[in-house]
Symmetry: C2
């Protein structure tokens, strides 16, 4: 009887939080990020083939629940992600996420994965993938402003993929700097604790801003920033949450992911809706240049786009098939006679 | 170490296909449907409080993948459902579904459930819930036109909730009638096999149409139908897929779920966009009448709306908490320090 029931079930691969942690240990977090960069570049090269749409958001007084769907030629994916700032007061996460990858030809889901950790990895992989096209050549020093949950992933990505050796750390909370320093010790990096953002950016080739305050903040002012720098601005990622002074944005060449989303969510929400920007897929496919001179000041105004979750799920699905050690969920019905669904329940 | 990792994980309840089958055995399918009717009525009474939106659909040459989100005051839900007609050629289901119920206050998912079986149950529960307000009093006989995967669930619902005793069955495929008859035998019902839809509707108080052909079909013509009947029309549920003749729709009083969706997907897609209809929440909350006389000809033009999936997931979640015997998935990260996500991966 159990056997009869099991034949009527079709499985979906499942990556729990523990599975993701084990997968990272097996692959190595540096290799994971650098391989994910390749998947991201492949998907950005296929930009035109994706069925893109703005995220769906259900707002409530306490927060927001979002669904981020995207369809490619062969796969479909969506991510579920919430944002509830008061959660930390009751010991819960502000943001949790999970996602599903499906087969377009059959509509069957293939993979269900945790995406809280995976989103941190894909955000860092996306930043460094963009920086490959935008950062000054032979960059060695990065300022890391904001030492929260994303900071170590960013440092790992820039160290592995771009060879960054020196990190200049700043956070308004000294404990956050301490946590980040402890996590990044003994990895061949020079870690310098700074007393201010102004000090952190001194001599940096790349400046990553990844702060958490949900307000229109001014983490970097125009006068703080010299030419010949790439700014990887990650923390200004929803309406009312920005990090860069308007004059700085106006002075630099600004690169973004997907205009309909970034105009609303990115730092450029502060600028007129026709301010000059370049969508990065046009740089990656060679249609437009990235960095054109050593003196250029570039900004990647990153907000996170569904195509990056798609790439991350596609990569994890390939890893799962290669290593073959994930759980299987009996999520789908598969009766011998599709018209006899009721027979299963009898 | 394992213990340390486990403390960093928060669980989500999971109902697999086998779990759903076991839950149905424990509760009884008739009780399941009649209790679900109560949940549906509660949620339809709270209609105004829901954040409703049209479904999201990703179309491909082979089919469609849909996300159906809806937010209530306390819970949020979405269903993933695909439709791929050619799947049966390779032994796969045309339609599979799963869904998630979340807590609005925290954004945390609470339940992940199979929804292929659950959708069949909620569709039948919705039909009979609507029929409570629309069917002739003391109805005893139902015509069941289309004996596919949904038919036995409809018969079970109308038998349990409205006391229907006689079923007049018709399908273009005699094997489908045979399958339905075998599944419904020995349940105190009189099952009559008919040679045509015209024969099946003779003397029926309620006519359920639930056919599968994806075209503008005419399962019921105006001249086949007498007054004093309720038509539960379920099979006309997407653009280009209808079951009822226009003259029949024009003659009857038509009741629907959610106008923005039913105008596109229901049988009324054949009528002008201002044809008279009544949204059922206004009947259920007492604002407008349902059936007003024994002679009235009523049609429920059902297409399936996200609120019904919400009710179904809410009911299953309550069952799970009552019986406490479902699986737990380690889907969510829960570190001691929310800013130290990287520490989990080290």
């Amino acid at each position: 009887m159990d056997n009869a029931i099991n034949q009527s079930v079709s499985n979906v691969s499942f990556i729990s939080v523990n599975d993701m942690i084990q997968l990272l240990k097996r692959v190595g977090i540096e290799n994971f990020i650098s391989e994910l960069v390749e998947y991201l570049e492949q998907d950005y090269l296929n930009w035109a083939s994706f069925d893109k749409s703005p995220r769906f958001a259900a707002h409530s007084p306490e927060g927001v629940i979002e669904l981020m769907p995207i369809g490619g030629d062969e796969k479909f994916s969506f991510k579920y992600v919430n944002g509830h700032p008061k959660n930390t007061q009751s010991g819960l996460q502000t943001v949790t996420a999970f996602g599903v990858l499906s087969d377009v030809a059959t509509g069957y889901p293939l993979l269900l994965s945790e995406m809280t950790i995976l989103t941190a990895l894909r955000t860092a992989a996306t930043s460094v993938m963009m920086a490959k096209y935008l950062a000054p050549k032979n960059a060695t020093t990065m300022a890391m402003i904001g030492c929260g949950a994303q900071s170590e992933f960013q440092i790992t990505a820039f160290s592995k993929v771009l060879g960054i050796k020196t990190i200049r750390l700043y956070d308004i909370n000294p404990q956050a700097i301490q946590k980040c320093t402890e996590n990044m010790m003994n990895k061949g990096l020079t870690l310098i604790t700074c007393d201010s953002a102004q000090e952190a950016v001194k001599g940096a080739d790349i400046i990553t801003t990844c702060t958490a305050d949900k307000k229109n903040a001014t983490i970097l002012t125009n006068s703080m920033i010299t030419d010949s720098v790439h700014i990887n601005a990650i923390g200004g990622d929803c309406p009312g949450k920005t990090e860069l002074e308007i004059q700085l944005l106006s002075r630099a060449d600004v690169f973004i992911e997907y205009e309909p989303q970034t105009r609303i969510e990115g730092d450029i929400q502060q600028l007129p809706s026709d301010s000059p920007i370049t969508e990065m897929y046009r740089v990656i496919n060679g249609e437009l240049p990235g960095r054109t001179s050593p003196q250029q000041l570039t900004i990647f105004d990153g907000v996170g786009f569904a195509i990056e979750d798609y790439s991350a799920l596609r990569y994890v699905y390939d890893l799962v098939n290669k290593h073959g050690n994930c759980q299987q969920l009996g999520l789908l019905v598969n009766p011998d006679d599709p018209r006899n669904l009721f027979g299963l329940t009898a």
